[in-house]
Symmetry: C2
């Protein structure tokens, strides 16, 4: 037996702040159509896929709110949903969510091939700051523009069209936090989707890591966490030079051994595809990473009892 | 400023069950002397370094207990301690511990260059089984021969001879469990030592992963956890064909970017060395992985509240 899903990572090239919404949506539909043509039934788009990565700008009022979605889908995004359902393809997509109560979240959803929302996730590990950095050309204001996710790390069991996969979502920086992966794996997660916008360099010209090192980091955490949680992972970038600020690519599909089975070669719109056999998770989940047999939570107390580090005293104990 | 420690990974080739204890100790002292000659002040030996990996055999009574140390050091192991102190070199070493009360642990210690025991750790993530596998030539009986570690994951602050490094220890399989690394990093850990004996193939000839894949896994988890916890890591194998069962090598020293800066080239006794600047941890600890700023423990509850996975219900939520 095998439980196969053909998955496409739909990497997106840059979206400039002056790009028209309809043009960006047309690019997404083109990626969806290419993925469907290749036989994929799940397409994974990036974080904040419908716009530029706007937390790099200090914005206010309607200029800020224009980046948010008040309903998903609404009239602006419905063509993507309609085309996906017509093609029998589901998708993960990240977007800026504005609730009826006025709350704002960095959110993702998984939509089934039948067009139903299987589940929603709101980003918990928000990087950046609340206050803008004085004098800096580029900001990272996610902590200003979004509330911390309030849905926890829910896993969702798909229907037969996706082989009853147990699916999880993360968003960008979340993937660097092993607690996030583990919280999903403790629900049996077999397939993780994560979209990202990750800087390729410091756009303000400060001390910086190379784009190659940042891409290595991005893939390393996905590979190791996929292995340690015995799941497939699909990590998808918005990439390239966006509004004068660089984003890494490196979109990839990783198997439960932590091996990259497919990866993007460009910093542009690009579909990367793999056949993911969910039954390959069973080896890890039943042996090396049989949580019930081997975890020792009575010794993990610091992970939930404290937020920051508490240093030991000096000297021989 | 930099806070430098020159560290040596002292990989050991195989130790057969009929090898004399004194001969194995002489190999360890030779590795220690080579590391000291190269200027190292910290030498990391493997797990269960003084003997063959005896949990592969079903043993009883004195035949089993002969593999354990009743005191560290005792007359058998004291020559290593004496030579280290004379050379001004400290070390991490793994051994089988038998307490006065008759408890048995898979244990490691860090000994300072002055010959004092800085700290002790007892392996928490014991793989294998309590009951032997009927008919199998080779066993994995760690759960039979050792009690689960009862010291938690303590970090220790070294003295000025090691630049006041905050040090942690893990043993073998522990390194695949991100909870273990995080528990240490939540104490500010800057340098992690881990020794291992990891199978290169299934010695009973069952379905198996290649030695290359197993070595990849072993390095992947060390690289990613070093990066996600912004620490140095020194991972040291007992390697090669031991008692007709194969052990991977791949000993390595990894920087806080998750980059391997030095690694073993053989499956034999081999010293690998690197200069580890503890101040390189500060970048990660103060920015990307500033735990106090970015962790959200209120959402990590499953990690401590449950041991095994609890699967979600089917259907649209």
């Amino acid at each position: 037996m095998s439980r196969m899903i053909r998955v496409a990572a739909a990497q997106m090239g840059p979206t400039q702040k002056d790009d028209r919404r309809a043009d960006t949506l047309a690019r997404m539909i083109a990626l969806l159509e290419e993925a469907a043509r290749l036989g994929a039934t799940l397409v994974v788009f990036p974080e904040l896929a419908f716009t530029t990565f706007f937390p790099r700008w200090l914005l206010e009022g309607e200029t800020l709110l224009a980046h948010y979605e008040r309903a998903m889908p609404d009239t602006r995004t419905r063509p993507l949903f309609d085309r996906a359902r017509a093609l029998g393809v589901g998708f993960y997509v990240g977007y800026a969510e504005l609730t009826a109560a006025g709350e704002r979240f960095n959110t993702s959803i998984i939509v089934t091939p039948a067009g139903e929302i299987l589940g929603k996730y709101r980003k918990i590990h928000l990087p950046g700051s609340v206050e803008p950095r004085a004098g800096a050309r580029f900001q990272q204001l996610e902590k200003r523009y979004f509330a911390y996710g309030d849905l926890g790390f829910p896993a969702f069991r798909a229907g037969p069209e996706w082989s009853e996969a147990i699916m999880g979502m993360l968003i960008c920086n979340d993937r660097r936090w092993p607690e996030a992966w583990r919280s999903l794996a403790l629900q049996g997660m077999e397939l993780l989707c994560v979209g990202y916008n990750s800087a390729a360099y410091d756009p303000n010209g400060g001390e910086t890591e190379s784009a190659a090192l940042r891409t290595f980091h991005a893939q390393l955490v996905v590979q190791a966490n996929a292995y340690m949680n015995a799941c497939w992972a699909v990590a998808v970038a918005k990439a390239g030079e966006e509004d004068g600020s660089g984003l890494i690519g490196g979109s990839c599909i990783v198997d439960p051994n932590g091996v990259i089975v497919a990866q993007a070669q460009t910093l542009a719109d690009e579909v990367v595809m793999a056949d993911c056999d969910l039954d390959l998770c069973a080896q890890g989940k039943s042996k090396m990473f049989d949580f019930a047999a081997h975890r020792r939570p009575q010794w993990y107390g610091r992970i939930t009892a404290q937020t920051g580090a508490i240093l030991p005293e000096a000297g021989i104990s």
